[in-house]
Amino acid sequence: MRALVAMSGGVDSSVAAALMLEDGHDVVGVTLKQWEGAAGEMPTAGCCTVADAEDAGRVAAQLDMPYYVLDYVDEFRSEVVDRFGADYMDGRTPNPCIECNRTVRFRALLERTAALGCDVLVTGHHARIRRDDDGFHLLAAVDGSKDQSYVLHMLGQRELARIRLPVGEMRKDDVRRHAARLGLRTASKPDSQDLCFVRTGDYRDFLREEFPEAARPGVIVDTEGVEVGRHGGTVDFTIGQRKGLGVALGEARYVVDIEPSTATIVIGRKRELEVRGCVVEGVSFVAGAAPADRSVSVKVRYRSRPVPGVLHQDGAAWRVDFTDPQLGIAPGQAAVFYRGDEVLGGGTIARTLQSTRHPRY
């Protein structure tokens, strides 16, 4: 079998390539060039930088495998970056890493795997794939603290049949130890946290540059629409934010809504941040169909604990009713449905269902 390994230049994908080689497969490494400056150079901060591509190429050479840089700049711009900006201006909190997985890695690159002479696509994601009589299952990683199954929820049977995630079976410490044993230069490299297309490491700088409207001063209103203050740009706020509002109203206030198109920040009391449910669009299920038992755990942010809820089909969308009210859920983030360790599916939060109705809505 010949495996195509998507190498970011980090330790996880380096070890993923090494593990495939150790399993006796032919391995081809690629780095996706996703973002470039005006002169066509790769970025120097964030992940997927020139230095990262150099690291990936060096690891591939140390492992004695072919390695290429593939140009995905156009796809990445239109499918990920433009959508990130448009979603933000639409008042959402998008997750561009999920969009990149959906459209670039596990669509464009996966579809090209055979043309590149390879049988499977391998990435360094921390998650596990299992196969039984029912088909393929997507499970959380062995190392729960590094689990990335949330950002892979869009994968279905067709995709999982052609994907391998070898490091999801290992604890992160063991991944690093394995890299160190092989003498790979990425062994002690820190995990990347930043968005690859954000030069400074702060997505707000990117929005200020690319979408000046996001940095437009505007008003802060309460949930009844009464102006209670002013701000220097919606870009500085996130749903659930309590600090830095510059408004003193006795009882603590939180950002409950952001409207970049009108440069309005809506603040409210903690209970006004509570939601009893949310509507999820673009839902896919790993098994190909919704589970019979609609009681699931739902993860509404990358780094949050799953909470119990019940799924209801609502036309083309799905509604999640949380068992207990939840705080600070942001439209644009993914809602991912779990049962225990297993990812059942997920989609994008379109809107939240408030516990207490705001008069404004």
Partner: protein, 378 residues
Amino acid sequence: MLYLDHAATTVLRPEATEAMAALAADGYGNPSGLHGVSRRAKNVLEAARERAADLIGADHPLEIVFTGGGTEADNLAIAGRALVGGQRGGIVTVATEHDAVLETARFLATMGCDVTIVPVDRSGRVDPSAAGAAVTEGTAVVSVMTANNETGVVQPVAAVAEAVTAAAPTVPVHTDAVQAFIAEPVDVAALGVSLLSLAAHKFGGPKGVGLLYVRNGVELEPVLHGGGQELGRRSGTHNVVGITGMVAAMEATVADRNSYRHRVAAARDAFEDGLRGYVPDLVVNAPLDARLPQHSHVRFPGVGAETLLIRLDQAGIAAAAGSACHSGAIDISHVLAAMGMTAVEAGECVRFSFGWVTQSGDGPFAADIVGKVVEDLR
């Protein structure tokens, strides 16, 4: 593995290897000193300079300035002319030049130099009268490559030089002959140029060595400042071993050139003929009567070059597309864009380049492998 990327760099010629090996142990002297060790090194260096001057038809050995490669030679020719005497001289060059010329011109434009880029026609050739017409009294240098590194298209350098001289007799013409030297007769008098760049590794010499021919009387501002070697035109301790290897490779190249032209052209033509059996709609991106004999720059309609090159690598054929940036990704070539190609068309082009080690069976052998991979991808 069959290496068909000789235009990127080629195999060291045995003459170069031997010349350098002979100096490797005790050829360490710095030619700029006064003692015996230095004198011996100086003697080797100046003998190499005389032979190099002879091989390109220079009038005097001191018209040869040794550099650290072709890029440096181009930088010295362009920037050295534009900045003479604290001036901001004008630069006239062509849209399909190597980045060593174009990027230098762009940098100089940010310093206040006037840069004029002359277009090419769809075949990649520049119109000599257009180059002549672009010259003004402020022009410090006109730069037109002898042959293009990507497509192999040969430029009418002598006609350009004639047109420039007719327009402004004192404006020197530079030619980047880096890609052409292995195949084309390069004589500075016949070309009518005052500046000419060579890079050793393109014709079987070592990497990191080149030269700039500077016609006697053409003033240059140095780009590298320091100890004042090369009559102040290029500071830095001489790479005597590398220079010796380069000049040995130059001699071997000139002696082999006629035979080489026939060998690589036969292999290249057999390759393209064989390829047409698999790819009837194959497009050759150069005028057949004005391209280097080793270049086969072709378009496979409907097949992306990036995927094709990776599959060819797996199948044992080393070829290239566009110009690789330092990260290794393929960028759309400015050369093909200047020839009026769309981005999609440019993204379907691959360069196969044969070399001095090419064997007669290499063409048909490569055609079968490439043809089958292209068929599989279509």
